[in-house]
Assembly symmetry: C2
Homo-oligomer: 179 residues x 2
């Protein structure tokens, strides 16, 4: 299916409102607990989304447009938000996500990308050749993978509270599909 | 972990805003397509959430409070929204969800349930004895299972558009954990 950039931007523009609606003011049970061991809480995931918008998506898009395949993307630091989120509240992270996302989308729209620009290629450090189209579609799908994770981490907190209903709740059987 | 009804209500109160923020005005690609065969689109899931609030959760809670285990719950018609959603738009369903959820929570809060009320037992047609506590916790977890499903159904629409990035996106490997 051909990539419709308008569809991608439509989703990217809505994720901050979705997370804000779901999470702002929720009790700690839902947002500070994780799935055990080194897994992420909702707070960690919110920090990751802010960090990825700041350091990953538009910087990589610019690199493709300016240098094509001649310069590989810097590796993304998947734990980079830990330091950046210290001493913040979830509400501060939600505010930051709203503002960094709006800035990134302003920048993306200002590029006025045409279909031929979307086919421009870059070098991913692990995946090899990727197109700008694939990078931008992945930005939107990355929001969805973390919305999927957030719903699972939250459901995990009620795995005992729901009693026998657990067998009817698919999210309780999701094992995270880790990479 | 003991069931804190305030935490349950906090989540139930936010899901309509989360779905409204995510879905209102999204292009058809995201909301009218499903995962193939008889699977549900985002539109179908929104209709299901409205239908479940209208016919399932508070009616069952009232039945437990009024009749205990002497009267089993009516079976929930998992496809009951199909007819009710015909000829509606997603935006109408989102409006209905906002209003039916607010009405249900007004009713729940008005019951002023105490811990001992939450231990009251009812008869589920498939699960046998369940408590009011478990029923109400499941109402919240049911929101999460459908948020999990929505993010997966939406990600499915981009399974080819993301190209090689697919392997990094856990949601693309979620198989739905069907019951």
């Amino acid at each position: 299916m051909e990539h419709n950039l308008g569809n991608t931007i439509a989703l990217l523009a809505r994720t901050p409102a979705a997370l804000n609606g779901l999470l702002r003011g929720l009790p700690e049970t839902w947002v500070l607990h994780n799935e055990g061991e080194n897994s992420w809480s909702v707070f960690d995931i919110a920090g990751h989304l802010v960090h990825a918008d700041r350091t990953n998506w538009m910087p990589r898009a610019r690199l493709i447009l300016e240098h094509g395949e001649t310069q590989a993307f810097a590796s993304f630091d998947r734990l980079g938000q830990i330091q950046a989120s210290q001493d913040k509240t979830l509400e501060q992270l939600l505010d930051e996500f709203i503002s960094v996302r709006a800035e990134c989308l302003d920048e993306l729209r200002a590029l006025k990308l045409r279909p031929e620009n979307l086919q421009k290629r870059g070098q991913h450090p692990a995946l090899g050749t990727v197109t700008l189209s694939e990078l931008l579609a992945t930005w939107a799908a990355h929001d969805l993978t973390h919305l999927h994770q957030i719903s699972r981490v939250m459901a995990y907190q009620y795995r005992e509270t729901v009693g026998p209903f657990r067998k009817f709740l698919g999210v309780m059987r999701c094992e995270g599909h880790g990479t």
